[in-house]
């Protein structure tokens, strides 16, 4: 079963708007949640991450909001730019020594100028 779910599958916003990407998980042992950004034909790159002891993490125009009780988190991209057009993956980890990250299904964001 899919342990990390993302919605929507795709999202289109206008330049300057805020894009909101949602993520939920099932395993309560997950305690680290990175978001990766992937452009077509390239490998994913770490964008921003949060641990389960925090409820918010901000880095420039990218902010993660985390709700541990509901096992949900979201990535907000404010003042969206055309260069932000990419697929964003939410991932989760419980530090199980080498079993690395469980990735979500991804959200493809298109920013129209």
């Amino acid at each position: 079963q899919q342990q990390v779910r993302q919605s929507p599958q795709s999202l289109t916003v206008w330049e300057g708007e805020t894009a909101i990407l949602n993520c939920s998980y099932e395993d309560s042992t997950f305690n680290y949640f990175p978001w990766y950004q992937q452009f077509p034909g390239e490998g994913p790159a770490l964008l921003i991450s949060i641990s389960s002891v925090s409820d918010k993490k901000e880095d420039g125009r990218f902010t993660i909001f985390f709700n541990k009780r509901e096992k949900k988190l979201s990535l907000h991209i404010t003042d969206s730019q055309p260069g932000d057009s990419a697929t964003y993956f939410c991932a989760a980890s419980s530090y199980q020594g080498g079993r690395a990250l469980i990735f979500g299904t991804g959200t493809t964001v298109s920013v129209s100028p």
Binding site: P44, S49, S93, G97, R99
Partner: protein
């Protein structure tokens, strides 16, 4: 600076033919190494990981095998390709002392099985 190099960039192979994909990490000693597979438009599925030379753990059985012949090298292979092996193969590394926190991915190999 650490660099990760994957080869080849792309492959077109026939069903039933063998395959070997490679990954080399420079500038980092004894990293954790990972192979991920990504279907077109899909999520990333971890296939294998290795924490040291000669030691590889399988996460998903997809009729593939992996080996780590050197500290900085990770090989993915199979003797007989299936149509279902088509996709994007990504090698990644992480800092051993930081566990699985930060994965750094290569540019990937696009595999088309016909």
């Amino acid at each position: 600076a650490q660099t990760i190099h994957q080869w080849p960039v792309a492959e077109i192979k026939a069903v039933g033919s063998p395959l070997s994909l490679g990954c080399t990490i420079k500038g980092k000693s004894s990293p954790n190494l990972y192979w991920y597979w990504q279907a077109t438009g899909g999520t990333l599925q971890q296939l294998f990981y290795s924490i040291t030379v000669g030691q590889v753990e399988s996460v998903v059985q997809l009729n593939l095998s992996a080996s780590r012949p050197k500290d900085d090298q990770f090989i993915l292979s199979t003797e007989k390709l299936l149509l279902s092996h088509s996709g994007f193969y990504l090698c990644a590394w992480s800092l051993r002392d930081r566990g699985p926190e930060r994965l750094f991915f290569g540019h990937g190999t696009k595999l088309s099985v016909l």
